[in-house]
C-alpha cells in the first residue's frame, strides 16, 4: 500500500502551499501542505500528489552503509547454529 516515491524539490510557491518536484527528468506539481521547513534542494516523499515527509540524507547514507556492512557484522558475531553458505 502507499506507493510513495522520493523526489527533489525544485520550486516552491508559498502562496498556494505547493511546489514542483523532480524525479529524474520528470517534474510534477505537488502540495506541500503536510510538511514544514522545506527548501529547494530537499528531498521529500511523494504520495498521491502530496509531500509527506522530508528524507534525511544522513540517515539514507547510514542505511546504505549498513547494507554494505551486513556481512561484516556476522563475521564478527558468532552465528548461532548457522553454517557458511
Amino acid at each position: 500500500m502507499c506507493l510513495a516515491i522520493p523526489a527533489q524539490v525544485v520550486e516552491i510557491d508559498d502562496v498556494s502551499d505547493s511546489g514542483t518536484v523532480a524525479l529524474g527528468p520528470v517534474r510534477k506539481r505537488i502540495s506541500l501542505a503536510l510538511v514544514d521547513d522545506v527548501s529547494v534542494g530537499d528531498f521529500v516523499l511523494i504520495h498521491v500528489g502530496y509531500a509527506l515527509n522530508k528524507i534525511s540524507p544522513e540517515e539514507a547514507e547510514r542505511t546504505l552503509a549498513l547494507f554494505g556492512e551486513a556481512e561484516l557484522v556476522e563475521e564478527l558475531a558468532a552465528a548461532p547454529g548457522g553454517g557458511a553458505t
Binding site: L3, V26, R29
Partner: protein, 349 residues
C-alpha cells in the same frame, strides 16, 4: 483529368467550420471534403482518379495485408497524432511479416461537430507520414455519425505489401535457444500519451516513438532472411507481446531485466504512477526472435539504423511446457512477466 476547385461555390471553411451530417451523405458536401482535404493532401495519381477503389499491379511474391482501427484519445500528443499513428501502425503491421509495404487505404468515421481545422491537421500529418515512408494512401472512405456517437474521429487504415521469397516470419516460429532482441527503449509512447491526458499532469520530455519501421525491417531481412519472428509491442507492451509469441510457439522465455532499454524519464514517470514499463504501449519498436547464430549480425544491422540505435539482446527462448516468460531482475531474484490484466491504471497503493 483532375477536378478543378471551381466545382464548389466556396472553399471549405477549414478555420472555423465543423463536420456535419452532409459530409457523409454522398452528396456535394462530401465530394468537396474529399477533394479539398483528402485528395489535396494525400496527393497521388491513384487517388486523383476519383474512383471508389484503386487498381494497381503488384510485383511477384506473396501478398501481405493488414488492417487497424484507431480510436485513441487524445487525438494529438507529444510526438504525433492519430493520423501519423495510424499510418505508422499499419505500415508496421505489414512490415512485421517481413513485407515491403506498397499501398495504404484509410477510412474515416467523423463525429458531427468535429472541427475541420483538427481534421486538416490530422490529414496533413498522415500525408507527411505516408510521404516519408514512400507509401501512398490510394483509396479511402468517409462516414459521419451523430454527435455523441463518436470520439471526434475514428480512423481505419489498411495496408498491402509483398514478402520476398525465402522469408517466412511468423509468431509460431520461436524455438528454444533463439535470441530475443528489441529495437530500442520501451514505454515511450504510453508515457507520452499519459502526460497529455487531462487528469495526469506532469511535464516530461518524452515524446511518442511512433515511427514506420519498414525500412529497418527491410535491412534486417536482407541481412538475415530467416528471421523467425517479428512483432511490434503496441497495446499491452513488451510483456504482452512476448507472452503472445511464447503461446503461439509453445515455448517459454528467459529475459534479463538490466538488458531491456528504458529511458530515465519513462522510468521516473512509471515510478510516480506505479506503472511497469514492460506493459506500456510502444509505437515505433519491434521485437525480433532469431536463431542464436544470427543475433550479433542482426543487432549490428539494427544499431546502424536511426530507429534501432538502442537495439539490444534482452533474452532467449527456452523450453517450457507452461509457456512462462520469466525475468532475472536487476536485483538478482526471478519473477514471471505475465500478460497484462485489463488496462494498466495508475495506482496509489
Amino acid at each position: 483529368m483532375s477536378v478543378k476547385a471551381k466545382r464548389f461555390p466556396q472553399r471549405l471553411n477549414i478555420r472555423s467550420g465543423t463536420i456535419d451530417m452532409t459530409h457523409g451523405s454522398g452528396g456535394r458536401a462530401m465530394a468537396q471534403l474529399i477533394e479539398e482535404l483528402f485528395v489535396t493532401h494525400f496527393d497521388n495519381d491513384l487517388l486523383r482518379q476519383a474512383n471508389d477503389q484503386a487498381a494497381f499491379d503488384v510485383p511477384a511474391g506473396r501478398l501481405v495485408m493488414s488492417t487497424d482501427g484507431h480510436v485513441i484519445s487524445p487525438l494529438f500528443f507529444p510526438g504525433g497524432d492519430i493520423g501519423s499513428l495510424s499510418v505508422h501502425g499499419t505500415l508496421n503491421d505489414v512490415a512485421m511479416a517481413g513485407a515491403r509495404p506498397l499501398y495504404l487505404s484509410s477510412g474515416f468515421i467523423l463525429e458531427e461537430g468535429f472541427p475541420l481545422a483538427d481534421l486538416e491537421r490530422i490529414v496533413i500529418s498522415m500525408a507527411a507520414a505516408a510521404k516519408r515512408a514512400g507509401v501512398p494512401v490510394v483509396t479511402g472512405d468517409t462516414k459521419v455519425v451523430e454527435r455523441g456517437k463518436g470520439d471526434g474521429v475514428f480512423i481505419t487504415t489498411t495496408g498491402v505489401g509483398i514478402v520476398p521469397k525465402g522469408v517466412n516470419i511468423s509468431g509460431d516460429r520461436a524455438r528454444p535457444g533463439d535470441a530475443i532482441l528489441v529495437s530500442g527503449s520501451i514505454g515511450d509512447h504510453g508515457v507520452a500519451i499519459m502526460s497529455s491526458r487531462e487528469n495526469l499532469t506532469f511535464e516530461t520530455t518524452i515524446e511518442s516513438d511512433s515511427a514506420a519501421l519498414h525500412k529497418l525491417v527491410a535491412s534486417m531481412v536482407e541481412a538475415v532472411p530467416d528471421i523467425h519472428c517479428l512483432r511490434d509491442p503496441t497495446r499491452g507492451g513488451l510483456a504482452t507481446t512476448l507472452n503472445e509469441l511464447a503461446l503461439q510457439s509453445g515455448v517459454g522465455m528467459q529475459l534479463t531485466e538490466d538488458a531491456i532499454p528504458v529511458r530515465p524519464a519513462v522510468s521516473a514517470a512509471c515510478e510516480l504512477l506505479g506503472l511497469d514499463p514492460l506493459y506500456i504501449a510502444n509505437e515505433g519498436k519491434l521485437i525480433c526472435i532469431c536463431a542464436p547464430a544470427d543475433a550479433q549480425r542482426l543487432l549490428a544491422v539494427m544499431r546502424a539504423d536511426p530507429l534501432g540505435a538502442e537495439a539490444a539482446i534482452i533474452g532467449e527462448v527456452i523450453e517450457d511446457a507452461h509457456g512462462f516468460v520469466r525475468m532475472q531482475t536487476g536485483f538478482g531474484g526471478s519473477r514471471v512477466v505475465d500478460w497484462l490484466t485489463g488496462e494498466q491504471l495508475p495506482r496509489i497503493c
